[in-house]
Symmetry: C2
Subunit: 310 residues, 2 copies
């Protein structure tokens, strides 16, 4: 057995990964002894079908790279205009043949049109919506489940249907947080200069200072490693200096437009259930390999697991 | 100009990177307007030679990969026995020809002997010290500079000569925190089963739940992207399934043993100066591209910049 560290709560719980999490070596390396508190894997193994929610095919993108698929869920409740724009752009083939143009270590991977606002920029639909700033939204109307833990970045943090969210009840607003794997809409110096045609995802430590400064639009649910393990760009801000260093985007489709048989069907663990509370507790109270239980979770270290629909 | 995000405070401030941070495009993308608060780049540009500390050549490693060098500083004040073991192992050629054996997305990259405790394991010096648990040490004797910000993981967090540190003044101890780029000593189920022969670095969001559970031994000061951008392992816990997927380690030398002319000479921004306070403020109070100033810093988003000695 390797000397090692315990398993990270996996983002993607495939049947293979679930099996591995329960393998003797994983157990020896990090799972609680029998009779101790249930591990995260134990909680997921005991979850019922109703503990998972579907990812709506109208609200998700399938981005195809040479290395394989990347699935992104869009957060319509938080960025409705950006989400609609992105769906519209994808349906018009806007992203097909564009590229990943920037990878800055411990920060972001960004994709879109390298020529952006140049005369050679790829055309967008003439009537594409001018997107407003969607940095936050009203707290009212959201099924916000606050964590008891505070993190200093916001009065409250927690989850809304699987999305990591910060909230300020006094001001009455809420916003998606810049956790690893969250996706946002790149903008220029003007706050309302994003339209959803340029996107990025967080590949390192959560840069929470970006919260309330840019529109978050979704989360990478599958294929995150295809974006995080790319060579870092050597130019300013991590942009690639040469076109041939970029990773081409073969195609981006709305999941609903992908033929049923080839469509990835994913589920996200619901964050309004007793199972979810047990899962959080399995992350809070650690034993086995751990000699010091942290007795807390942190928002960006507790994003809900994702699995293929059984 | 690309729609984009502002620059991340760079880990490695090379003269090239410093120039780029001040380039018009970078300025347009994220630096404050002239007349506003100084940016991080402004603060570094105004820093004096005495604001930087040297990296002692006896306390640093040069790990050579095919992709280039990785420089790791060892934290002797926090893990003296592990640091001595690692230096001893490096001097004996222990790491030469071993490999990076595990990369788990948003978690860790781990290297050492894939055969580990198997009969085919690489031999270690017979009198290599049995390393004790070095998860924390006495707070007394450390020049600990606490941040005013709390993060929920410890009563206090701050810096000791550039190291990110958490402290519990009531219990009188302090420990290195698991920030991105920090290096630790892999262990098995027994808390005292690490000896420094297997190492890992954090490549994603800080897994602070590991704090006080494993011995941190240092920080990657240069070449972090050579460890973070590697293909993720498909096996359990991110271990590679096949030997040919591993990245060979060509050689690891103590920096003091590298001929002077080819030795990377690095400096870390001191964390006990007025310049450091200004640098933290430049990260706390944001303007320019930012419309919402976070008015706070977070320990693991504020690791001190590193530069080649001028």
């Amino acid at each position: 057995m390797h000397k090692t560290l315990p398993a990270l709560a996996t983002r993607l719980v495939s049947s293979l990964a679930a099996a591995l999490l329960l393998s003797p070596s994983a157990q020896a390396a990090g799972q609680p002894d029998p009779g101790k508190r249930p591990s995260s894997a134990d909680v997921l193994a005991a979850a019922q079908p109703g503990d998972w929610r579907e990812v709506k095919a109208e609200d998700a993108l399938l981005m195809e790279l040479a290395s394989g698929p990347v699935v992104i869920e869009l957060a319509r409740e938080f960025a409705p205009v950006h989400a609609s724009n992105i769906v519209r752009l994808a349906r018009g083939g806007y992203f097909d043949g564009l590229a990943i143009i920037r990878v800055q270590d411990n920060y972001v991977t960004q994709w879109g049109d390298a020529d952006d606002e140049a005369p050679t920029a790829r055309a967008k639909p003439a009537d594409l919506a001018k997107a407003p700033v969607e940095f936050s939204r009203a707290l009212k109307g959201l099924d916000f489940r606050a964590l008891p833990e505070r993190d200093g970045w916001a009065p409250q943090v927690g989850f809304v249907q699987g999305w990591p969210v910060a909230a300020d009840p006094k001001k009455g607003h809420a916003w998606l947080t810049h956790c690893n794997s969250m996706v946002g809409a790149a903008r220029g110096n003007e706050p309302d200069s994003s339209d959803g045609s340029g996107l990025y995802t967080v590949i390192g430590h959560a840069p929470r200072a970006l919260d309330l400064n840019i529109t978050s639009v979704g989360r990478v649910l599958q294929g995150m490693e295809r974006l995080s393990a790319l060579p870092r760009g050597a130019g300013a801000l991590g942009f690639y200096e040469k076109a041939e260093q970029r990773t081409p985007i073969q195609r981006v489709r709305v999941l609903a437009d992908v033929p049923e048989a080839e469509r990835p069907k994913l589920q996200v663990l619901r964050t309004d259930t007793a199972t979810w509370k047990r899962w959080l507790d399995s992350r809070r109270y650690r034993s086995g390999w751990f000699v010091h239980s942290p007795d807390r979770v942190e928002l960006c270290s507790a994003l809900p697991p994702v699995r293929p629909a059984p």
